[in-house]
Symmetry: C3
Subunit: 409 residues, 3 copies
């Protein structure tokens, strides 16, 4: 889809309404999404504890691309396209592992952990290996959360997000965590439906009995809806009280909203319901060994949403981290990771089923809703509908951000 | 495919010959078929006995669209697009059921059986629900056969078909029938090949041993072929005699041919072979309880063909009804329903295997032939071939109808 | 893809480098490959021993086309498109069999083994059957290897290839062979990657332990690489000695290279390692009954490569013959046949597992490499890389041949 056609389509969108159907269905828009949204922004890809030791790597698959993230001898994380510079063979299979030298299985061209070509045969005396390093990818860590940018010149405002969020996330001490579980779910819908679903809790009460045991819906984009006025106010008071308590304990908690930035994000620490400890079925911590230097369990949940593709909840005992991966116009991968303290022992300090029950159930429920939305939007009868000004404000914000970056030159 | 390209393609067709390959293979022609043929004409979708009670509904899937047909409290059948007016979620899963209020699973927007939005939360005081009714679909019943039209302005000549056919079909009393069995078959070929296959019996003798036990091939588009001259004449005499007998018994039987109308159709009551009772393996009735007020078994078969997508055979004891659904350029759903008297008891009055054996076998045979035709037409070597003037006249008529409505503005 | 777009793409290719990504990935280039490469050249399809008797046939599927090759009563092999001239039905299912008359299953139009329409019903007195013969396909046999050309006017230089190769292949006496085994493998990569993989042995040592038991890599496109200089020279001496011995025994062995011809090919008889007898795990003959009138086992391997889609190795005891079939831009069928003397008895003279072990393993290994290359080339980060001047010269030759014939008018 050329820029002019895209402009015309973008102009068709009515503010406050869901997007016109081609944004969800068209393969051409999907290609534009991959190029202009995922190809130009900071994409959340994983967490540092996946590769704690030098030489460890994992791959990330995005569209038809594959990226290797590897920890170098200096303990920095580096990233490269997973493509041999000889005849283009994929170097590593998708997954994880470790290497000192990376040898292409086809003709044994050999690279080091900085992506430099260090050995190959039969290319003659005059062959200049320095011209054939693996193509690098920008990578940044925000307190242990790894982001890559596929563009040659990445957005500069990653630094703004880091400056704002470092102190919020640091107490949860990702460096001393481990990934206790990962859950991949392929949703039969456009990736933006997955994101929109995440940006409102209008749908929570009727669809998420497990999640709403601990989660107050009001923190997730709810304004003072006339249908829930007193409860929203009551929740506002609770937030005020709890923020005072947490800030006193050295935990930055106040809302930060920069969703209109190129590297758009939002964060707030919110109270949890009942025991107030964690996003579990019984609302109690899932892991006895708390994160960082925490001694209290009732720290609520620090939520951190990034654009275009992630959200994270940090609690006293565990972290749950989500990333969204477009696979096709109508297929999206939702990857969820649960992190606990690296010294916590499974079966002793935590139980994987207890740890993951709420979000596995919630993801499955959202997966069905996303598919249902995609099916309906596929009907020629679909018309964009109105967002609730009280509960779907952040959905509108997401769509507005998306459209403005889709049309950026 | 734009109209000009379609015009050029249509102009390539030589009368009396099968269609040029793109009509069967091209995804663009398929889209045009969906829009201009299935999107603008009266499509047969089912029978009233599927939803006898108020609140009962079934859905119809056509392309990426889904339609809900529901019986309202006033016992009228209404139809709507299965798409929530909020964010486009599909309301019902494909299938059937019953409701008083239809609640969208996503955010609980709630509709009544007239498609009116009667409840939703968080939309504020000023929200005008009357602007967000489900998008209606035109629906008509012809003596119990349900047809929908997706166009805003449906063809007016449904009334002509109803006037012509009501008296023919009424004695078979669909209102007091039930669906004894439904059989869905996905054919690996273009929907027009399924229709063309239905419009001639040139292929019957060599391919349909079960069907030709009861069916004389000569009634199905056979002219006085030199290769079957005396048999066709003999059959013509039999038809004359039987028509006189049936008309005397109050059953309109003469041929009606309006295949060139926008709502094109054809009908005739034809004798059956051997015992002359029914389209079964032994040619005897499959159900002991006869339809309507019939007391005689040997009423032949009233056939009713509609364009673009159905045909039906009405006998003294049961009705078999077929509809054709384009799924892709090379995939077509053939849905077959067998109806018997609603008071007939399975295992006592009829046996499902006996009832369905002929047409299940025949459909399976036709399915293989349609796939074979589609495969051959997919070859670059395919050239349109000549239709027999004696046995494929109705195939040519179908193609002519199709092309003239494909190019209609 | 129109010719201008193709020209632009072709112009992007840098000599000595792998092709730009669209040549491997684009469905439009794939269609051009089918039309301009496979649609215009001599394609190897099988061997005469598959249809030794009059009336025997086999079909070849190429794209959406199907071709019937049948042995006529005069023992000549004829070829036709597998498409009925009536309404286009596919006549035969893919596979093999025998017929005297070929009857279309749909409406019983009947053809003889020359493709002439000899019977059909209901077409009237004036119908001229001579206008409705099956569409013929050009077919040639080169010493028992069957080639077809789908173009109306096939390249004339098949005669050149026949004149050059007849004497080389004839001693292996294909006419008195039988197909002992056939192995079909669907590779997840573009057909040109399959061909490129076949045109170099740079990848052999690290990937093909079974093959390199008997095969010296140096015969397969290796120049005097500085990394293998002495071994290449040593191999050159061995070739010289062996050629003298084989030529004395009446076996033409010298290299013939006409890869730049329209009907491009290359051939050379090469020594095998260890016992020097055959391409088996133990390098000994797999079949005790030798081919033709051979009495010696150590005849090396006569290799014969054709463009665009085959290669063959002829040894004293068996022949292994490969053909490549494009299925989609990213899917390719590799069909392998092993031939032994027609009087050889399985279990007595040869064992299928021993006969096929090397090339089954090698094909599986190459299949993984082709998939890996296709995956990497699918990355937006892929850049064409440099071919080794010492080991990938024939890959470059293949690409050059391909591009020049892709742009031929």
């Amino acid at each position: 889809m050329n820029s002019a056609a895209l402009e015309t389509l973008i102009a068709r969108r009515q503010s406050g309404y869901s997007l016109p159907a081609p944004f969800y269905l068209s393969p051409e828009v999907f290609d534009a999404d991959c190029a202009r949204i995922f190809g130009r922004h900071w994409i959340f890809v994983g967490v540092e504890p996946e590769i704690p030791k030098a030489g460890q790597f994992f791959t990330v698959e995005i569209g038809s691309d594959s990226i290797i993230l590897v920890r170098d001898a200096d303990m920095a994380v580096r990233a490269f396209h997973n493509v041999c510079r000889h005849r283009g063979a994929r170097l590593c299979n998708p997954g994880s592992g470790a290497f000192v030298r990376l040898v292409c299985p086809y003709h044994q061209w050999t690279y080091n952990r900085r992506g430099e070509l260090v050995n190959n045969k039969h290319m003659g005396e005059d062959f200049d290996r320095s011209q054939f390093a693996l193509k690098p990818v920008h990578v940044e860590s925000l307190a242990g959360l790894l982001f890559i940018c596929l563009a040659d010149t990445p957005p500069e405002d990653f630094a703004v997000m880091r400056a704002a969020m470092q102190a919020h996330i640091a107490p949860h001490d990702i460096a001393n965590c481990k990934v206790a579980h990962q859950y991949d779910l392929v949703e039969q819908g456009n990736w933006k439906l997955t994101m929109e679903n995440n940006r409102e809790c209008y749908h929570c009460r009727a669809n998420h009995p497990q999640l709403t045991a601990s989660l107050y819906e009001y923190g997730f984009g709810f304004g003072a809806s006339p249908d829930a006025h007193s409860k929203v106010q009551e929740f506002g008071e609770l937030v005020k009280t709890e923020h005072a308590r947490w800030e006193a304990a050295g935990l930055p908690s106040a809302e930060i909203e920069r969703l209109d930035a190129t590297t758009g994000f939002r964060s707030v620490r919110l109270p949890l319901n009942q025991s107030g400890e964690s996003q579990t079925l019984d609302t109690k911590v899932a892991c006895r060994k708390l994160l960082g230097t925490f001694t209290q369990s009732d720290l609520g949940g620090l939520s951190f949403w990034t654009q275009p593709n992630s959200w994270h909840h940090f609690m006293s005992d565990h972290i749950v981290s989500f990333s969204v991966w477009p696979l096709a116009a109508g297929r999206t991968l939702l990857r969820t990771r649960w992190l606990v303290h690296k010294d916590a022992q499974e079966g002793v300090d935590f139980d994987v089923e207890h740890l993951t029950a709420v979000w596995k159930a919630t993801n499955d429920q959202d997966c069905a809703l996303v598919a249902r939305a995609h099916q309906g939007i596929s009907s020629p009868a679909y018309l964009p509908g109105p967002y609730s000004a009280y509960t779907e404000d952040l959905v509108d914000t997401f769509c507005t951000w998306y459209l403005s970056h889709l049309q950026a030159p």
